[in-house]
Subunit: 225 residues, 2 copies
Amino acid sequence: MGEENVKKKNALVPEPALRRMPCYLAYLKLEHRKGSQYVSSTLIARDNGVDPTQVTKDLSYTGISGKTRVGYEVEPLIDALEDFLGFRVMDEAYLFGAGSLGTALLHDHGLVQYGLKIVGAFDVNPLVIGHSIGGISIAHIDEFVKNKDHGIKIGILTTPVANAREVANMMVANGIKAIWNFTPVRITSPEGVVVQNTSLYAHLAVMFNRLNAAGSDDSVAPAKK
Amino acid sequence: MGEENVKKKNALVPEPALRRMPCYLAYLKLEHRKGSQYVSSTLIARDNGVDPTQVTKDLSYTGISGKTRVGYEVEPLIDALEDFLGFRVMDEAYLFGAGSLGTALLHDHGLVQYGLKIVGAFDVNPLVIGHSIGGISIAHIDEFVKNKDHGIKIGILTTPVANAREVANMMVANGIKAIWNFTPVRITSPEGVVVQNTSLYAHLAVMFNRLNAAGSDDSVAPAKK
DNA sequence: TGATATTAAGGAATTGTTTCTTTAATCAAA
DNA sequence: TTTGATTAAAGAAACAATTCCTTAATATCA
């Protein structure tokens, strides 16, 4: 108990804050294109429907500070956000499962602008192996296991539900450090492996629920703002 | 129907709980296929890396209750979850913005299994209008405005950032009640319109952050200033 | 048949996040 | 230069969500 400068709880940036940051970034880029040089937290808050103090708290994580009575300088803030979010360094990733959703992601070239480049894709289905989707050719997953020395740290998981856990284990066993999980299966992450769950169906469930709640109840309170 | 739980005013189901439910559902379907007839919350919790009491709390929202010392009956629980999440009724949706991400979603046929069917797509780019992607032909967005009497309540927003707000407004003005927003732009929802934000980049930001934190920690203080 | 262990469920305490409040800074205008 | 208004930032309070704790029920085993 003697160590008093042991970092408490790791001081992780709150996930909700991290999720809001790309939204600020998109907004700032639009403002920048419009010619704005300074933007205040008040303005950011109003245009994005969040609390002004939350904006300053969120932005303070990037290390940038604003000027009293002026706001934030747009360009440095954009740079700081992109740096902080890791959008400026290009990370390479492998995709596992070239089914419907995997194919969809291979078609999407938007991720490259945010620092993620898919450089390989794997599957077990003979019907897709050998084909090229979005410029990436699909290989058998054994090829991934054979190649021990790839420096790829990020794996995108888009297999069917039944294989998700098995493939995730294989990814980890072969050096993957971060799993971007698009399946509804909850991956119990081993050692120091990061798992980011992004099941579209989870979001769909929330949307359906809110839609039904709004439709069936006329005394609904509007999102307590 | 809602007479007995009138005590709490709105009693909205917490979003984190809703997001976990599809995960339980996927798990239960796998267990069902394996032949399990009963599954306990303890087991669900262990296999999915969550707290057992959280499982029972989450599942209680569906109205199903488990049997002491036995657990939950798998089949009725699957039914209840699918019903509760709105996965059993097929909702139809329009897609706005057939760019990279929009095209990707049109290629994905997985959504149909979860109750969402894309039945139309709109854009403004002459290069894509008239083409068919994933069985859906792309029309000019004016066609959407002309057709006042479509019964479509759900709109998927996949336009470029610059047009997101404008298109969202147009959607709402023409009867869309729920916007599934894939852009990083925060849509300030009007009256009783539901907005579900699903920016992939937000998730990417969280993953990058956690990955970097995991790689650089141990001895180094988090450079958060 | 009775004891034991396992489970669901409800309420309390804890934790984390958001919102509110206060303070200090500084630009603009008089 | 002085005054007033607006802003960022830091701390306090409120809120929501998770985890912990207790209770009641019951299938299994002795």
